[in-house]
Symmetry: C2
Subunit: 179 residues, 2 copies
DNA sequence: TCTTGATTATCTATCAGAAGATAGATAAAA
DNA sequence: TTTTATCTATCTTCTGATAGATAATCAAGA
């Protein structure tokens, strides 16, 4: 069933967010899904296939979430707030999947690295368009969106150490100060 | 000799920056230093000891570099520029050691996590003091330094995927725009 | 409807290699 | 003669991966 495959992807996503690609093993994954590790290979012949599919699903879901924000919130400030909530959902204990993969990108195949690049490019583009609706405040939308995306990924990374929302909260305050 | 131990720490530091803690093995480390893996255990009984000592050395060296910046540059803008250069030195191919460890912090012992926390706290404090010397620009020094530290870590993380300095450069432009 | 054959989803069993770690020998240096 | 720095040899556990058996489901043709 597609149910088992989805279950595996869901466990794998969380495990990678918590422990990284090298912290995910077929055995532990299988045990958590109550099947044998050989059965995991039935759905994902190689580990790289699993990583790729997990990344595809995560990024697609993230883009859909951005789209939903666009529909539900019409004002830039609300949209930025909603994005912050999206990031905060990972804490405590998890990092952005794409941030984690970026840290380990030396060990990824090119297909997956392309998904990663696209994730950052698209998310930055979304941010830029939101910022373009704000009253001008010195920095260009292109530049500011890059800095904001960087700070979101970095804040989530550092907040993971203590499980708090310290840095993310500062980023949020900063964003609110832009208006 | 202390030479061998330092050599091991140097190789381990670079390897963790490139591949993470789980991407570092005693065997590969030993091979690169032309000794046997059992000899690595002579210097570092457990892998956790190696990680701890490497982190200690890295953070100490980083704080010394900040101190040197304080001595060589007297103006805030120069100091921030020098910090940016410190971060850029990692590219292409490497991430900030503490950023990498933060991503994998679920698998670290408390001693090493404490070093990590101190690294971020101290670096943020340094940034805050530099920013306090700048003309006020809306945000508080405490808040802005948090955001800048986040964006530096995040920018280095994302730039690692393509090996370019795209995001770090945008952070640098943003910093220059603060004055 | 019954039979047959393919497809799907799992299992058992096993492999080769890598991992961290330890015991104990050895040789040089202090 | 004790300490320092290395080695050989080995252990256990974990890793990704493969081969082949086994049911169960399902579709098609007689």
């Amino acid at each position: 069933m597609a149910q088992t495959k989805n279950h595996l992807k869901s466990i794998a996503t969380r495990t990678i967010q918590e422990k990284g690609v090298n912290g995910l093993s077929f055995r532990d994954l299988a045990a958590e899904a109550n099947i044998k590790s050989s059965s995991v290979h039935y759905y994902f012949p190689q580990k790289a296939d699993l990583i790729y599919e997990v990344t595809k699903e995560y990024t697609d879901a993230f883009f859909q979430a951005l789209h939903k924000i666009d529909q539900l919130s019409k004002h830039s400030v609300e949209r930025l707030d909603a994005l912050l909530d999206l990031y905060k959902k990972n804490l405590p204990g998890r990092f952005c999947l794409c941030g984690m993969l970026a840290a380990e990108s030396n060990q990824l195949d090119n297909k997956t690295k392309d998904l990663l690049s696209r994730f950052f490019v698209k998310t930055q583009k979304w941010l830029r368009e939101v910022i373009e609706d704000l009253p001008s405040n010195g920095a260009t939308p292109a530049g500011l969106s890059s800095v904001l995306l960087s700070s979101l990924e970095g804040a989530l990374l550092m907040d993971g150490v203590k499980g708090k929302e310290k840095y993310l909260t500062e980023v949020q305050k900063f964003i609110r100060g832009l208006v």
